[in-house]
């Protein structure tokens, strides 16, 4: 298992080729997703456990940072209407913090540590499923594109090898470190994309160019369509609001 994990991170072509021919390629790939999911879920679950037991301590740094940024955010915006909107969105987040602290303090039938433990356990078991959802989505899109580009791999091979792209997301376990979170997320995302491209290339016997196109084509298309749809919705709601 660890060999598979390390081999995925190091883009070990031999590992990918061996896995491609294995009858249990899907099981091996999904085990990597499970491993990463449990690692990240465990860390996040522990954070949630501590946050529920002492929400003021968990929220405090975020509240302080937001209050510090509030003035500079609103003064950076020139238009008065937009400045007020920016200010209100900051206040909305601060109010959300207040709500979280007050609701957490409300009495429950079972002691709060029990609820905190179960919530942490829920994060632990749900995180692998969330990662699986992401892996299945990107591998399904990559498989469709790879087939159109002349690829010959089976769905199982694409899913099993594509699942290895979850390996770098073990870095998400360190996302709680202040200042490092976004950088590590970007690193995991980029590294995962490289692994996906390699996986698609090996599974479908495509060169790196076609494998890259297969890996990014449909996510880009659907992402672009989604963005256009959002802009359209915003435009329509603005037009309706102005008319009313």
């Amino acid at each position: 298992m660890i060999d598979t994990f390390n081999g995925a991170l190091l883009l070990n072509q031999r590992l990918f080729q061996t896995m491609r021919e294995a009858p249990d390629v899907v099981r091996r790939g999904l085990l990597v997703v499970l491993l990463v999911g449990l690692l990240v879920g465990g860390v996040n679950g522990a954070n949630i456990f501590l946050a529920i037991l002492d929400p003021a301590r968990a929220i405090g740094p975020q509240r302080a940072a937001l209050e510090q940024q509030a003035d500079s955010l609103t003064s950076a915006v020139a238009q008065p209407g937009l400045a007020e909107l920016t200010q209100d969105s900051v206040f909305l987040t601060l109010t959300q913090f207040d709500i979280t602290e007050r609701v957490t303090a409300l009495p429950t039938a079972l002691p709060r540590p029990v609820g905190a433990f179960l919530s942490a356990l829920a994060v632990l078991v749900n995180t692998p499923v969330a990662y699986l959802g992401w892996v299945l989505l990107i591998t399904a899109l990559a498989h469709a594109a790879a087939r159109q580009l002349g690829g010959v791999g089976s769905l199982q091979q694409t899913v099993g090898l594509g699942a290895l792209s979850a390996a770098p997301h073990a870095l998400d376990a360190l996302a709680f470190l202040p200042g490092l979170g976004p950088t590590l997320g970007l690193l995991a995302w980029g590294w995962g994309l490289l692994i996906l491209i390699t996986a698609v290339g090996v599974a479908h016997r495509l060169d790196s160019g076609k494998a890259t196109i297969a890996a990014v084509l449909y996510p880009t298309v659907f992402g672009g369509l989604g963005f256009v749809a959002l802009c359209g919705l915003a435009f329509i709601s603005g037009a309706v609001g102005a008319a009313v």
């Binding site: 957490t104 356990l121 994060v123």
Partner: protein
């Protein structure tokens, strides 16, 4: 029972051998129907456990709604909003939202009864049109073989067993990734189920990959379109009645 677990895991791990076994089994439809019912029962029981524990670790919805509404009304930025908007966000509205988010023992009990039936119905409503489409595209399998094989895809629903672990709803406020995680989680079972159905159609009808893809995808697309048209028709009817 062990053989049904093997079938369900085969669907979860996209095991081609399991799909073929079901296709060739003389009592494949009976086994498939029982598999779907058992998976539905397991998921329903998980929902019952989660629904029974959730109210014990969460504050009473009315109490939570009172605190949320009170905190919001104390906020100066909220007082500046138009009265019509402030009226929408009242205690009753928040109580309804909390009741929707936090499962109850009643909803869990209902789930035990309805989940197996809904899965069974969904299996039939989905598989029969998919079989007809596959036959139109040149497939030669019998309906019984298609039903037997597509039943294995219900193994994907095992991912919903995680709902047995309840969570405090404040955990969603403390976890920045809660919404995206929930979306990815709910898509995991759906995508894996579609992949399983694709494999089932391919192994049963021996049609080309693209033909199997369309046989599997057109059904939910058509059903979704029908639902959308139905919803629009009902909305127009109500609008017409309200106008009259």
């Amino acid at each position: 029972m062990r053989s049904y677990l093997r079938l369900a895991l085969g669907g979860l791990l996209l095991d081609r051998q399991i799909f073929r076994e079901q296709r060739d089994a003389p009592d494949g439809v009976r086994r498939g129907a029982l598999l779907v019912m058992l998976v539905g029962l397991a998921v329903g029981l998980a929902g019952l456990i989660g629904g029974a524990l959730a109210p014990a670790i969460n504050p009473a919805p009315a109490e939570a709604a009172r605190v949320i509404a009170a905190t919001l009304n104390e906020a100066e930025w909220f007082q500046r909003q138009p009265a019509e908007l402030r009226e929408v966000y009242d205690e009753a509205a928040f109580a309804q939202v909390v009741e929707l988010i936090v499962p109850s023992p009643q909803s869990g009990l209902l789930g035990v009864l309805t989940t197996p039936l809904l899965l069974l119905l969904g299996w039939l409503i989905y598989s029969v049109p998919a079989h007809l489409l596959a036959r139109l595209m040149g497939g030669e399998a019998r309906l019984g073989q298609t039903l037997a094989a597509t039943a294995v895809a219900s193994g994907a629903q095992l991912l919903n067993l995680t709902q047995a672990v309840p969570t405090m709803f404040v955990a969603a406020l403390l976890d920045q990734n809660a919404v995206s995680q929930a979306l990815l989680q709910s898509s995991a079972a759906l995508i894996l189920g579609l992949m399983g159905s694709y494999l089932a159609i391919r192994e049963t009808h021996t049609i080309t990959p693209w033909q199997a893809f369309w046989a599997v995808t057109l059904v939910p697309l058509a059903l979704g379109l029908l639902l959308l048209c139905g919803a629009c028709a009902i909305l127009l009817l109500f609008a017409g009645l309200a106008g009259a």
